[in-house]
Symmetry: C2
Subunit: 174 residues, 2 copies
DNA sequence: TATTGTTATACTCTATAACTATA
DNA sequence: TATAGTTATAGAGTATAACAATA
């Protein structure tokens, strides 16, 4: 899509921001832009691995969630909360997963409002095959050193906690 | 869209990955998932600030690029390379910016194939007003400490360089 | 022959609003 | 009244392919 650039565009933006007199904002602007760009690179790698499995990242996340439930079933609303996406996004993802026979909708035993989703046998197989390939081709050779991974996890966990993503589990110690 | 969770879903995924026997991949998987989630939080904040200005993040990036050119003009193809997006995405963004009278398309003096884009006076005003609000409301109070910003910039610059995002400018020293 | 840019088309994910059914 | 989920609709960004114009 694009050839490599001779200079780092984010470093240039940082310089431009400082020259414009926006000194206090320049460094965090550059860091945040780098996060946005890094996310794009990583999700492109992930989507490329998932595509031959007939999955998108959003749908893989649903399968992964179901794969690790104790009972094998999860309410739509709980999936929405855990994945932190709009309920209609879950409906959309589950519609397609159900059409592909990877998940099934079932009724809740006592609450008639609730729709439960469960993995089919094939859904479990597809999830684990996709996960194995993601592990081998993206996560195990991510380009981050173990120290990078530790630093990122520490910094981003604290950030997400401060942003209100979750409660109770305190950020890891300094 | 979602209430805060009682536990960190990424930490839980990390545990699940280890229990599944995917030990080498578990930690980088969690770090990468945290990057994806953090990017979502940040772009939501950015989009919320830009919306009243009639801008999306993609369109703001085009305006910011033009604001810092020496001549005030930039070829579509160069914008595509610098923003690292598909040429059709630039066409799309510029179509809308032009309709809003924030940029103009002009012909290149010597190369008939090239379309140049320039900021209108109003485009410059909108860009600087939006940037000022982004600085005040997102970047200057990002939730990252100065040390976080330095660490993120170091780690992500090296990652982007290794991913082939740019050449020549070496990653910052250890 | 290669490059630049546009058009047409399609496919994501996401979001709002209106709705049904149930608690 | 509040909650769970669906539907319809819309909008965003992104991508491929075909195409025109130019180098």
């Amino acid at each position: 899509m694009s050839s490599p650039l001779s200079r780092d565009p984010i470093a240039e933006a940082h310089t431009n921001w400082e020259r414009a007199g926006w000194r206090a904002a320049a460094a965090p602007m550059a860091a945040i832009t780098a996060i946005v760009r890094t996310e794009k690179i990583l999700t492109q790698r992930i989507e490329a691995v998932l595509k031959p499995h007939g999955l998108t990242f959003a749908r893989f996340e649903v399968l992964a969630l179901l794969n690790f439930t104790r009972t094998g079933a999860m309410a739509m609303s709980r999936a929405s909360r855990l994945l932190q996406v709009h309920p209609t996004s879950v409906t959309n993802a589950v519609d397609r997963l159900e059409r592909a026979a990877l998940v099934e909708r079932t009724a809740h035993a006592t609450d008639g409002r609730t729709t439960l989703i469960t993995l089919t046998a094939r859904g479990g197989e597809v999830m684990r095959a996709a996960a194995a390939e993601l592990n081998a081709r993206v996560f195990e050779d991510s380009g981050f050193t173990p120290q990078d991974v530790a630093d990122l996890t520490r910094i981003l966990t604290r950030f997400r906690h401060a942003a209100g993503d979750f409660h109770c589990a305190p950020p890891p110690p300094e």
